[in-house]
C-alpha cells in the first residue's frame, strides 16, 4: 500500500536555527497519526511545511504519490490537505455558516462572470454549500448549529476549535491536520472531539488524520500510531504504549534527571 501522505527528509532552517531536521513520516489511508513532543520541538512548523505556508529547505512531500513539495498553500488545500491552526484562525467577522462555506472554496466553481451573468446558478451553488455547511456544523454540535448565523468571533475557545474542524471537513480533504485540537477544551469536550474524529472516519473511508496533541488521554486512546518530535528531529515512532516507555521519549518530556529517577 502506498502511503496517502509521505514526508521524506523534511528540513527547514530559519537563519541558523534548524527548526525541523530530516523528518520522515508516512500516513496511510484511514489512519490517525499523532505527533507529540515538547513545546518548540517543531511540530507546528512541520504542519506549515506540509500545508505550503513554509517552503522546506530540503526534503519532499508526496500526496498520493504526487510530489507537492513547494506548491503554494491554496493548491495544496485544493489537492486535499486541510488543516486547523494552533491558535485557531477563524474568519471572525463572518458567520459560522460563512466560515464553513469558505472551507468548500476549492470544491465550488463560480467565478466573477458566473456571479454577474448567471446569478441563479452561482447562488444555487452557494445555497447548496450553505446547506451542507449547516449539516456539518449540526453533526459536530447542535449548540453550534443553533448559533450558525452569528459571528465566529464571538465563540468561546472550545467552539472555535470545533468550528475550525468543521471548516476543515468541509473541503472533502483526504488528509486533515489538527494542531493541538484539544487545547482550551475540558475532558468532556475532548471526549466529544475524539468521538467526532471516529465518526468522521467511519463516514469517510480513506480519510486520514495527522494530529499534534498534548493531552495524553487523547494520545493514548485515539491514534493508530504516534511519532515523537524533539528539537526538530523525529526521535521515536510506533504504538503509544511502546513509545511512552522509551528512555529518549521520557527524557524529552521529563528532562534527563527525572527520567533517571523514574
Amino acid at each position: 500500500m502506498t502511503p496517502l501522505l509521505e514526508v521524506r527528509g523534511l528540513t527547514i532552517r530559519f537563519g541558523g536555527l534548524v527548526a525541523v531536521c530530516e523528518v520522515d513520516l508516512a500516513l496511510n489511508p484511514s489512519e490517525v497519526l499523532c505527533i507529540i513532543g515538547p513545546n518548540g520541538a517543531g511540530k507546528s512548523t512541520l504542519f506549515n511545511m506540509i500545508s505550503g505556508i513554509y517552503r522546506p529547505s530540503a526534503g519532499t512531500v508526496h500526496l498520493d504519490g504526487r510530489d507537492i513539495t513547494g506548491w503554494p498553500a491554496h493548491r495544496i488545500a485544493a489537492a486535499g490537505i486541510a488543516r486547523t491552526f494552533q491558535s485557531s484562525r477563524l474568519f471572525n467577522d463572518l458567520t459560522l455558516i460563512d466560515n464553513v462555506v469558505i472551507g468548500m472554496h476549492s470544491r465550488t466553481k463560480s467565478g466573477v462572470l458566473d456571479a454577474l451573468l448567471r446569478p441563479g446558478k452561482a447562488r444555487a451553488e452557494l445555497e447548496a454549500a450553505a446547506e451542507k455547511a449547516g449539516e456539518l456544523i449540526r453533526a459536530i454540535s447542535p449548540d453550534l448549529h443553533a448559533r450558525r448565523n452569528t459571528l465566529a468571533g464571538a465563540l468561546p475557545q472550545a467552539d472555535r476549535r470545533r468550528l475550525e474542524i468543521a471548516r476543515a471537513l468541509a473541503s472533502d480533504a483526504r488528509v486533515i491536520m489538527l494542531d493541538e485540537p484539544s487545547s482550551g477544551m475540558d475532558d468532556r469536550d475532548t471526549d466529544a472531539l475524539m468521538a467526532d474524529v471516529r465518526r468522521v472516519m467511519a463516514e469517510r473511508p480513506g480519510l486520514s488524520f495527522l494530529i499534534i496533541e498534548h493531552d495524553m488521554r487523547l494520545v493514548a486512546a485515539l491514534p493508530d500510531r504516534v511519532a515523537v518530535i524533539d528539537y526538530g528531529r523525529k526521535i521515536a515512532e510506533g504504538d503509544f504504549a511502546d513509545v511512552r516507555l522509551m528512555p529518549r521519549v521520557q527524557e524529552a518530556y521529563l528532562g534527563q534527571k527525572a527520567a533517571e529517577h523514574a
Binding site: 498553500a73 491554496h74 474568519f91 463560480s110 445555497e127 448565523n149 452569528t150
Partner: protein, 396 residues
C-alpha cells in the same frame, strides 16, 4: 454591540405585512424628502437643522439596534415593493427639483461618486485592500472614452465598454504587485500609480496636457441629444436630466453587481482574505488572483463613471483625477460603512453634498466638513451602515 445585534436579527419580531409596507414606504419617502430639502435649501439654519435631524436618526439607530433590525427585516421581506418604490422615486425625482441646474448637478456628481465608492468597496470593504488609485481608474476611463470620441468620432455608447476594458486591463496591471508586496507596500504602489497616471495625463501632448480635453460631444439616444432638455407630460426637464437618468441607471447596475458578487463564492473569498489571508490560503483561495480580480472589478466600474463624467461636463483635465479624489472615495466607503452597499452609496451622497452645502462657511468649509464627519463617526463608529451578515436559504 454589533455582534449581539446581528445575533438577534433572526429573532426579531416580525409584524404583519401591512406594517412592513408602511415601514418601507415611510423610510424611502422620508429619505427622499430629506434629500430634497437638503438639495434645495440654502439657508444655513435649515441645513444645520437637517444635519441635526440626520444625526438624531443615526443616534436612534445606534441606541436602539432593534429599530434598525426591524427596518432591515421589513425591507428584506418586502424586497420587490421596496425596489419598485425606489425606482419610481428615482424616476419622478427630477420633476420635483424645480428645474434647479445646481440640484441636478449635485445629484449627478453624487451618483457618479456612489459608483466609484461601490467600485472601491469591492476592494476596501470586501477584501480590505487599500487602493488609493480608484481616482486614476476613473481618469483612465474618462480619458479613454473622451479620446475615442474626439479623435475617432466613436459614439458614447461604444466608448462605455471600451473604456471599461482598458481601465480593467490597467487595474490588473496595478494588481500585479500584490503578488509580491505586503499590504502596506501595496498601498504605496497604488498611491504611486495614481500619481504616475496624473503626471502622464499632465505631460502627454495627446491628452491635452494640463489643459485636458475640450468639446466632448453630448451622447445621443434614438436621435435625442443629451444636450437638449427632456419634455414629458407637459413638463420640461433641463438637459442635465438626461445625465441624471444615465447616472441613476449606472448606480442601479453597480448595485446589482455589488449584490451578486457579495452573495457569491467570490464575495466570500474576498471576505476571507479580509479577515485572515493566511487562513484563506489554507482554504484553497488563490489570494493573489482574488486580489487582482478586485482591482479589475474596481477599475471596470470606475471607468463607467469616468465615461459618463467626461460626456456630462464635456471637458476633462488631469486635475479632475488627482490623488485627493481617490482619498475622497476612500473616505466615502469608510464613513458610509465598509462592505455595505447602501452605506457606501449614502456615504458618497453625504460627502459630495456636505462641502457644497457648507459653502456659507467659505474658508472654514473643509474644517466644518471634517467636524461633521467626525461627529457622525462618533455616533456610528462602524460607519453609517455597518457590514451585515449574509442570509442563506431565503431566496426563491
Amino acid at each position: 454591540m454589533a455582534d449581539t445585534a446581528q445575533a438577534t436579527s433572526a429573532l426579531v419580531r416580525r409584524n404583519g405585512p401591512s406594517a412592513d409596507l408602511a415601514i418601507v414606504a415611510g423610510v424611502e419617502l422620508g429619505s427622499a424628502i430629506l434629500l430634497w430639502s437638503f438639495l434645495l435649501s440654502d439657508r444655513t439654519a435649515v441645513i444645520v437643522a437637517l444635519l441635526a435631524l440626520m444625526g438624531g436618526i443615526f443616534a436612534a439607530l445606534q441606541l436602539r439596534p432593534a429599530l434598525e433590525e426591524r427596518i432591515v427585516a421589513a425591507f428584506h421581506d418586502r424586497k420587490r415593493f421596496a425596489t419598485l418604490l425606489g425606482a419610481v422615486i428615482v424616476l419622478i425625482y427630477p420633476f420635483f427639483l424645480q428645474g434647479s441646474g445646481y440640484a441636478f448637478h449635485l445629484l449627478i456628481v453624487s451618483m457618479l461618486y456612489a459608483v466609484l465608492a461601490l467600485a472601491l468597496n469591492f476592494q476596501l470593504g470586501s477584501a480590505n485592500i487599500p487602493n488609493f488609485a480608484t481616482g486614476a481608474s476613473y481618469g483612465i476611463g474618462a480619458y479613454t472614452s473622451a479620446l475615442l470620441a474626439l479623435n475617432f468620432g466613436v459614439s458614447f455608447w461604444l466608448t462605455l465598454p471600451v473604456a471599461a476594458v482598458v481601465a480593467t486591463a490597467f487595474g490588473f496591471l496595478l494588481g500585479f504587485p500584490s503578488m509580491r508586496t505586503k499590504e502596506s507596500y501595496l498601498a504605496l504602489v497604488t498611491i504611486a500609480f495614481g500619481i504616475v497616471v496624473h503626471q502622464l495625463l499632465n505631460n502627454f501632448d495627446w491628452t491635452g496636457g494640463p489643459n485636458g480635453l475640450v468639446g466632448i460631444p453630448a451622447p445621443e439616444l434614438f436621435g435625442h441629444s443629451f444636450a437638449r432638455p427632456i419634455e414629458a407630460f407637459g413638463f420640461r426637464l433641463p438637459s442635465q436630466a438626461n445625465f441624471y437618468y444615465l447616472s441613476a441607471a449606472l448606480v442601479g447596475l453597480s448595485i446589482v453587481c455589488a449584490k451578486r458578487l457579495h452573495e457569491s463564492r467570490v464575495g466570500l473569498a474576498w471576505n476571507a482574505l479580509r479577515a485572515d489571508p493566511l487562513a484563506a490560503r489554507c482554504q484553497g483561495i488563490d489570494v493573489v488572483w482574488f486580489k487582482m480580480l478586485a482591482f479589475g472589478v474596481d477599475a471596470f466600474l470606475a471607468a463607467f463613471a469616468g465615461t459618463i463624467y467626461a460626456f456630462y461636463v464635456s471637458y476633462i483635465s488631469p486635475d479632475n483625477f488627482t490623488f485627493l479624489v481617490s482619498v475622497t472615495i476612500m473616505t466615502m466607503v469608510i464613513v458610509g460603512g465598509m462592505d455595505n452597499t447602501l452605506g457606501v452609496i449614502i456615504g458618497a451622497f453625504f460627502l459630495t453634498m456636505l462641502p457644497e452645502k457648507l459653502r456659507i462657511f467659505s474658508d472654514y468649509r473643509l474644517l466644518f466638513v471634517g467636524v461633521v464627519v467626525i461627529l457622525f463617526l462618533i455616533l456610528r463608529p462602524q460607519g453609517l451602515f455597518p457590514q451585515r451578515a449574509r442570509n442563506y436559504g431565503e431566496h426563491r
